[in-house]
Symmetry: C2
DNA sequence: ACAATAGTGTCTCTCAGACACTATCAA
DNA sequence: TTGATAGTGTCTGAGAGACACTATTGT
């Protein structure tokens, strides 16, 4: 069949932008490429779709993260799909890109070939990974304005001041405390962890919260921002 | 190379949800399939990516629209990418889906094998086209709440009451006239067509507007809805 | 006691929607 | 003149942010 021959020439890959907060700085995971093209160059985690083992492209992305970066348990969301004859020197290619959010403590120990770079300090990237990174940043910043997306930067339980700081880090501007707490209350996504407080400083301890079970792998959306 | 053999088994296609407003009813273009699988079944316009001729997947979508449905000049926006071993009986496949918005008057004359169906009256669709259609509807309804997306349902020039009716059709609820005009003014995307009025009824004629050149293929976004 | 941050009550200002009014056409 | 729709001025109520206050810890 002629059309079979035609479409078979398209490379199908996934690329993942893994984002985390390091000391309040939005950062991305880069891997040093082990194979051609661009051997030795720092790039986004990515790889071919394996038709034999992957249930869908998101499973491919999860597999790539696990096998190449040792990352598991991240929140995964599909970004856009990039395509064309020029973006990969091997030929006409399709890259289904994903955005992964993960708390810093779930990242693997630093090792050779893996680094975590503040997004403001990322230089030139191979392929069209620069564009993909920009798409991820735009998505995260945009969705943080009206959804609960940023909770995925934090672990199991966290305090409201902590969460507010995450929002402020991503949005790059201070957030009104009263409004923020009102909104979080309205979203109805958090519940206090009974008896769990975050002590530490010479000040009043903060109540710890966790995401309600029914919101675990699902975002809470607000109609009017924040 | 082994990985080459692996990824070559993935079919790469595009599917397009063409939406238009027919008498204020959101409707979708369906084509009767001419080839296996699902010969004769009504489905979304779609086809293989042609690596030799397409500059990217969006170009593939435009080509499919032109060659299979005779549609040109639509606003095109990428939706999500669907993938997996089961969605297409021919094997593991990737479908990059697009949403197309077009004024009714730019649609081709009705012909055998092409129909325009109110989205509320679309029955079962082959592949995962039902999911794709739902994604398109969600996207259009969501974006209509805070952007100028719906202008692509109208032609070159239109009156504000016309545009408001388009918003109301999509959102499924009445829109406040004063707020609507304030927002359109703030978006700064429209300009009055000098001297062009829409007469017709036994009442005051409406000023006609058009999209400013700098906003032609780009959406205007509002921070706070409408 | 005091410094420091957590958490809350309340005021104000902004903005979206409601309402009412004027404008301009055909019959 | 009347009916119908286009277009605008203004009021009001809801909600977001500012501010100030109380609460609770360690030193």
């Amino acid at each position: 069949m002629q059309s079979e021959a035609t479409h078979a020439q398209v490379l199908t890959t996934v690329d993942v932008v893994v984002l985390t907060l390091v000391e309040g700085v939005l950062s991305v995971v880069l891997l040093q490429r082990e194979r051609a093209p661009y051997v030795g160059v720092w790039a986004l985690p990515g790889g071919y779709i394996h038709a034999q083992e992957d249930a869908d492209a998101q499973a491919s992305a999860a597999r790539v993260l696990r096998s190449k970066a040792g990352i598991e348990g991240a929140y995964l969301e599909q970004l856009a799909t990039f395509s064309g004859p020029a973006r990969d020197p091997r030929g006409w290619s399709v890259a289904i890109s994903y955005c992964a959010l993960i708390p810093q403590q779930l990242l693997p120990a630093p090792r050779s070939g893996l680094k975590i770079v503040p997004v403001s300090a990322v230089g030139q990237l191979p392929f069209d990974h620069g564009q993909i990174l920009q798409a991820a940043l735009g998505r995260v910043r945009s969705k943080s304005q009206y959804s609960s997306l940023p909770v995925y930067f934090l672990g199991e339980s966290f305090s409201l001041p902590q969460l507010q700081q995450v929002y402020e880090s991503i949005l790059g501007e201070p957030v009104n405390k009263v409004s923020f707490r009102r909104k979080m209350d309205e979203l109805g996504m958090l519940e206090p962890v009974p008896g769990a407080m975050q002590a530490g400083g010479a000040h009043r301890p903060a109540q710890l919260y966790r995401v309600r079970p029914e919101f675990r792998q699902q975002l809470a959306l607000s109609a009017r921002g924040l």
